[in-house]
């Protein structure tokens, strides 16, 4: 058994964050996969899959709003929690700490823009 495993292990289908709950942290996946799900009146919609090294739950750091989606493990996943307080304190001292996060958010906006463009193009046809 490996003893140097940082973070917390979530088993298959175990919920890491629940849509609608208040959040004061975000997460970095150390190992495995999670799925991001929006719970709607008509059922669940899978928004994204996130893998090793990726963030999730970061919106609650910057917005005073509840979690916008549920995230659960897809298979066994190991996840590290990043405290909001620690993150904000450190970013105040060293704004470049946010580079990696901003880069990720930027690439997600790019992906979403491409999806929106694709959907609009499909509607026009």
């Amino acid at each position: 058994m490996e003893t140097g495993v940082l973070g917390k292990i979530y088993h298959d289908a175990e919920i890491v964050v629940k849509q609608g709950e208040k959040g004061d942290c975000f997460y970095v996946i150390q190992d495995g996969l999670v799925e991001v799900i929006e719970e709607t009146d008509r059922g669940e919609v899978q928004l994204a899959l996130r893998g090793e090294g990726e963030f999730f739950g970061e919106m609650s750091i910057f917005e005073q709003q509840v979690r916008s989606a549920t995230v659960r493990a897809l298979g066994e996943a190991r996840v590290l929690t990043i405290d909001k307080k620690n993150f904000l304190r450190r970013i105040h001292e060293d704004p470049s700490l946010a580079f990696h996060l901003i880069q990720t958010l930027s690439s997600r906006i790019r992906e979403l823009s491409a999806e929106v463009a694709q959907i609009r193009a499909m509607k026009e046809y």
């Binding site: 973070g7 929690t81 450190r90 060293d94 990696h100």
Partner: protein, 442 residues
């Protein structure tokens, strides 16, 4: 603000003396920041040691604890520590006193502290199945584009505007920036304490580290996933901790004038011996060292085109030295890329960061002074332990003492934070009540 007269530009050459965490972090973040700004730099790291070798050839002599703050900061930077580097993930500490022991689980209920070996493991290790922390960081810097020169620096000279580095086997000139990341345990800092230099190394104190091989199963059984902290009231001993790491445990002791007598007094204390298996011999360590730890800041840790980082500039008092190395390395790298490398640039943009650590260390000195006083008296030790025990038993009680001790022992929060929590009226009232009960024999 006038622009610096000395800036790094395309083709600038940087020498980093020392490939420990401070040097590797500096090279990594400098090259990262330079790439983001479209600047192409050449970085040489001078490091004679091979960190893949067992001690003492590959070791940087430290307790080897990566604080949960640093683990989080690195993960945010996209640097996740692999299981091949982390020897033990820690989620709790056990406080040992002569009036009992109490386990306290991390406020996060998550394994966010990493126990690591700095080099290739203790002396006599049979098989190296892991990667040392320093070797891992150095390979990260190399992957970013740094060039590793396996040579000891023997002198540094100014050659007009630029700097020349002489090392065993080669001389190289034309450096636009020299970064001194040699720790207080190396002789390299003496090179910079010359008559015409205003740099003065930090003051240091001796610490003691011992490593014992018990086997993975035995380490898990006796020490679990916890740091073991001892407040035993032994004169001259400020603090001692046992860190489980794979098949070994490291014992780290901080105090005044640590010598063989103090080591023996601690290692033969019943509270320590009871942690170990019956056949453990305290006087047969697999590896040991008496490294120095900085206790003050360096004077003038900068000059034109020269900057000192890591514990050769300032470190956190008694804790989280690797975290302080990460922070000073990043601050110096940001200053060099964004502001310039003249003495005035470092004074204006880098030194304030060092002053913040220094200021925080003053609060740390007060906290360790109070801890030192409290641990000398039996009933105050008992009161602390009872307060932690009560907090652990009742989820409704805010874990004020537990969190104060957690952050003090693990270096997870600034000392100022811990200081303010100690001054909280609820903390003072509950601890005062605990002292009364303890003094009355409760």
């Amino acid at each position: 603000m006038p622009e610096s007269s000395m800036r790094l530009e395309n083709g600038s050459q940087i020498a980093v003396i020392g490939g420990g965490p401070a040097g590797s972090f500096f090279a990594y973040f400098l090259l990262d920041l330079a790439a983001r700004n479209g600047v192409d730099l050449g970085v040489d790291i001078y490091e004679p040691r091979d960190f893949s070798l067992p001690a003492p050839q590959g070791c940087n002599m430290c307790a080897g604890v990566i604080s949960e703050t640093l683990v989080q900061n690195l993960a945010t930077e996209g640097i996740n520590l692999p299981t091949s580097v982390v020897q033990k993930a820690i989620d709790s500490y056990v406080l040992h006193t002569d009036v009992g022991r109490q386990r306290f689980v991390a406020p996060s209920h998550e394994k966010r502290i990493g126990a690591i070996f700095r080099g290739g493991g203790p002396r006599g290790i049979r098989e190296i199945k892991f990667i040392g922390f320093d070797a891992h960081l150095l390979s990260m810097a190399k992957n970013k584009g740094a060039n590793i020169i396996r040579s000891r620096v023997t002198s540094v000279e100014r050659m007009g505007e630029r700097l020349q580095v002489k090392s065993r086997g080669m001389d190289k000139e034309g450096y636009d920036l020299l970064v001194v990341a040699a720790g207080v345990n190396t002789a390299t800092l003496k090179l910079f304490e010359q008559e015409n230099s205003r740099f003065v190394s930090p003051k240091t104190t001796k610490t003691a580290i011992r490593e014992y091989r018990l086997g993975t199963e035995s380490v898990d059984k006796h020490f679990g996933d916890s740091l073991h902290v001892f407040l035993l009231g032994i004169p001259k001993l400020d603090f001692a901790m046992i860190v489980p790491k794979g098949e070994y445990v490291s014992i780290c002791m901080l105090g005044k004038d640590i010598d063989d007598g103090l080591l023996q007094a601690f290692l033969t204390a019943p509270e320590v011996k009871s942690c170990f298996p019956d056949d453990w011999h305290w006087d047969e360590p697999d590896c040991q060292c008496l490294p120095r730890m900085s206790t003050s800041a360096a004077a003038q840790p900068y000059a034109d085109r020269i900057v000192f980082i890591g514990d050769s500039s300032v470190s956190r008092l008694k804790k989280d030295g690797i975290g302080a190395a990460y922070r000073s390395a990043k601050a110096a790298a940001s200053c060099a890329i964004l502001e310039g490398v003249a003495s005035e640039d470092f004074r204006r943009y880098y030194v304030p960061f060092l002053r913040r650590i220094e200021l925080d260390n003053n609060f740390g000195r007060f906290i360790f002074f109070v801890t030192h006083i409290l641990q000398r008296v039996r009933f105050t030790r008992k009161a602390m332990l009872q307060m932690v025990a009560a907090e652990q038993l009742s989820p409704d009680v805010p874990p004020r003492m537990s969190n104060v001790l957690w952050d003090t022992f693990t270096g997870s929060a600034p000392y100022l934070d811990v200081f303010l929590r100690i001054l909280h009226p609820a903390f003072i009232c509950r601890f005062a009540w605990g002292l009364v009960v303890s003094a009355m024999g409760g």
